[in-house]
């Protein structure tokens, strides 16, 4: 596409002007008459000097000049030369920054310990990752951390270090020392795995904390008793519950409709985090990492919320009450539940979590 300029010109006898232009071998593209004294003429960008000189010479008023095609780009670059220079400098800078370590993520071990080991090896924030041998680094860290193995992966300008710690062998058990298996919490026995010793409880028994479950003794047919170490497992069914009272009102945070969107730029470990103008809010975030650059754009929308108290019937808020009861029960729960049941009455909802734990603990005599 040929570069052109569109000139809005104002003056008397426009026909005379057009005749003069074509006489000077200027090709006119798209000539439009706006009114009696105004016309828009389009000429090649290369002829702009000749045309503008003629317009000045003939005392025509030039109202607007619009650049079309490559000329427009060139003109924008001229006008925003500072921006262009910044872009030209910034792109190689960003590419170069992608080869530098701006963030170190550590999994599976103490972060500071790993960072210290990396520092000793010569790797750290702001250091180049170009000539880094990851195999050698992994071997070094494995030895330094006394780990089972370490993986080091570069993702853009982030160094991901994952440490898998060495699994220690269990302490050898002295099977000759007499010991009992004792309940470490209350519960109802659900199953017993007996390897050595004498079981004092059976499935379905309710046991309390401190009660001997498997006694460390072997009873022979002649009635003699030999002290042994009790070996086995005793499992018990345990429950955990949370009650939520219902008084006819339900308090919940609701969105007011006000929202505040912000796009944060995370460069390396620097986060342009700003103030949130709401006291209570919900957030929805999306992020985009510009690899290989060390730049992550995080777009977050903050929705303002207010606490609202509503008069409701039990059926209307049953789901909310169940959820609150379940959340509370899960927070308190110290075992992995396998069933959840809800007890609903007129003034409360109870979530009951049921699970199984091993309650037996070896206690030496």
């Amino acid at each position: 596409m040929i570069s052109k300029i569109e000139i809005t010109v104002d003056g008397l006898n426009l026909e005379d002007l057009l005749r003069a232009l074509i006489k000077q071998k200027v090709t006119l593209y798209a000539v439009r008459r706006i009114d009696r004294f105004t016309a828009v003429i389009t000429v090649a960008y290369s002829n702009r000097g000749k045309v503008l000189d003629l317009l000045r010479e003939k005392c025509y008023n030039v109202h607007n000049i619009k650049f079309i095609g490559a000329a427009a780009t060139a003109e924008r670059l001229k006008r925003h030369i500072a921006l262009f220079v910044v872009l030209v400098l910034l792109v190689p800078l960003l590419i170069a920054s992608g080869t530098v370590c701006w963030r170190i993520e550590v999994r599976g071990a103490d972060r500071q310990q790993v960072l210290d080991a990396l520092y000793e090896y010569g790797v750290g924030i702001g250091r180049s990752l170009v000539s880094l041998s990851y195999d050698k680094l992994e071997n070094y860290l494995t030895n330094a951390m006394n780990a089972s193995f370490v993986t080091a992966v570069r993702k853009g300008s982030t160094l991901l270090i994952e440490v898998v710690e060495r699994s220690e062998a269990d302490e050898p058990i002295d099977l000759d020392s007499p010991a009992d298996i004792v309940a470490q919490s209350d519960g109802v026995v659900s199953r017993i795995v007996l390897i050595q010793g004498t079981a004092l409880v059976q499935k379905g028994d309710t046991v309390s904390k401190g009660q001997i479950l498997i006694k460390g003794e072997r009873i022979y047919n002649d009635g003699t008793v030999q002290p042994v170490r009790a070996v086995g497992q005793v499992f018990a069914t345990v429950v955990c519950s949370q009650e939520i009272a219902f008084n006819g009102y339900l308090s919940k945070y609701v969105r007011t409709g006000e929202s505040f969107a912000v796009t944060e730029v995370v460069i390396g470990s620097y986060d342009s985090h700003g103030e949130v103008p709401f006291e209570t809010y919900e957030t929805v975030s999306t992020s985009l990492t510009l690899y290989p650059f060390a730049v992550t754009l995080v777009h977050t929308v903050y929705y303002r919320t207010v606490l609202e108290v509503q008069k409701v019937s039990l059926s209307q808020c049953l789901d909310d009450l169940k959820r609150q009861a379940l959340d509370g029960a899960v927070d308190k729960c110290t075992f992995a539940p396998y069933t959840v049941t809800y007890n609903v009455s007129d003034n409360k909802v109870t979530a009951v979590l049921t699970g199984e734990i091993e309650i037996g603990e070896v206690i030496l005599r």
Binding site: L14, E15, L18, R19, I22, K23, K25, T27, L28, Y29, A30, V31, R32, R33, A39
Partner: protein, 87 residues
Amino acid sequence: MKKLSDVSLETADLETLSVMRYKCCVYGNHTAVVEGHKGLKKFGDSEIQLRVGKGSVSVTGQVSLALLTDSSAVIKGHITGVRYDDF
């Protein structure tokens, strides 16, 4: 095999294009091409008049100049008439 333009020229009793002082071609009612004009005489949004030979050719309608050089012009728009005037 003769080309269509040659047949047309023969039919019109014109041996070559060089015999023409100017040429005006109208494509449908949207484009008119005038070659060999001698200058712009009148330019408005309802009529564009060009000097040709010893007279002029006027293209009327809602028209504008798509191209204008020292010898040819392309007129576009909604053409309602083409008129030739002899001096």
